[in-house]
Amino acid sequence: MPEPEVTAAVKAKFPQATDRASLDHPAVNLPAADVPAALACLRDEFAFDMLTDLTAVDWSSAASPRFTVVYHLFSTARHDYIRVAADCPNDAEPAVPSVCALWPGANWHEREVYDMFGIGFTGHPDLRRILMWDGYPHFPLRKEFPLAGIETPLPDAEVAAETHASVKPAPLMGGPFVASSGQVNLGAAEPGGKDESWTERHEKPE
């Protein structure tokens, strides 16, 4: 089936679906509540049998809706992709329905999105953090979270008491790390932070 017909069929079946701007594959926007039914329809009727990616976008704390969950489906029969995006209705406590029942592989993807963005997946069988440790108080891929990190106690209180170590912000100090290719001087070509005017102890000049 040619690509426009898939999106047209999805829009016929789910009246609230709209076309989503896309430079590559066909894409639709859907209300979060319709996502499990729409993905089940795509899987069973249009042979999009593989969930290749499940991720999210944070449009910044000023935007509303703030979070969008994005699904990429692949059809191993027709070698087509389709992208489905759903805005989270609640900006403060974002949540969308889980699709673990459709693809067991969605389980860890949804845990990762929960870990990094704090987006809940209602109906997920085991929604825990997957990369950061249980009890970590922040969601690192949210826009307000600095890459350097925020001071936090270590996950293990005993080790923290023994070592007096904690999670310390680590600013890039001259980074991001870039390589200057084509340099005759190998020291200058080495990937590294090129701006050495600030460190952990000296503030970055404005």
């Binding site: 922040h138 990190g149 925020i150 080790v159 100090m173």
Partner: protein, 169 residues
């Protein structure tokens, strides 16, 4: 056929063949030439650690070929790779389970300083949770660099007042 050339070590007429030395020299000689590593392989440095243990570089030449995956049987922890904050507590607990005397080699940029990973997730040097004896630069270091670190560590062990430490323990 092995000849029974045992006279030097097991001669009953012991008077003529006593070897006089210091307790420190004997203890340190034994310790430094049989350092069993605890391979704390956390990232790509572990591949170079494996190369150091394999036939071309052959860490057995320095008596450190017995990689022990139980910390209770290890002498030197080789931290080879990126230590995340989530892993840091486990590294510390494994270190705590190693019997004294024990040493630590921080292998590579990540274990020494956090390396290129200046982020919310990576411990900026394993010396923030365990004491490190030798740091190895490189990303990852060549196996020769690790062997050099091992030789440096052996020299450090040979300078230790081991007998005094044992008696005062």
């Amino acid at each position: 056929m092995v000849t029974a050339n045992t006279e030097l070590a097991y001669d009953s007429k012991i008077e003529g063949e006593v070897i006089v030395t210091r307790a420190d020299a004997v203890i340190n000689w034994i310790r430094s030439n049989s350092m069993w590593p605890m391979p704390m392989g956390l990232a790509c440095c572990a591949i170079e650690l494996m190369a150091a243990g394999a036939s071309r570089f052959d860490i057995a030449r320095f008596g450190a070929e017995v990689m022990r995956f139980s910390p209770r049987q290890a002498d030197v922890m080789i931290v080879a790779g990126t230590v995340t904050y989530k892993m840091a507590s486990a590294v510390r607990r494994i270190y705590d389970q190693m019997p004294e005397p024990k040493w630590v080699i921080a292998m590579g940029a990540c274990a020494s300083t956090g390396g290129m990973y200046r982020s919310y997730a990576v411990l900026q040097g394993v010396d923030r949770v365990i004491p490190v004896d030798v740091y190895v630069s490189g990303c990852p270091p060549r196996p020769e660099a690790l062997l050099d670190a091992l030789i440096l560590l052996q020299n450090k062990v040979k300078r230790t007042p081991s007998a005094k430490n044992l008696l005062s323990a």
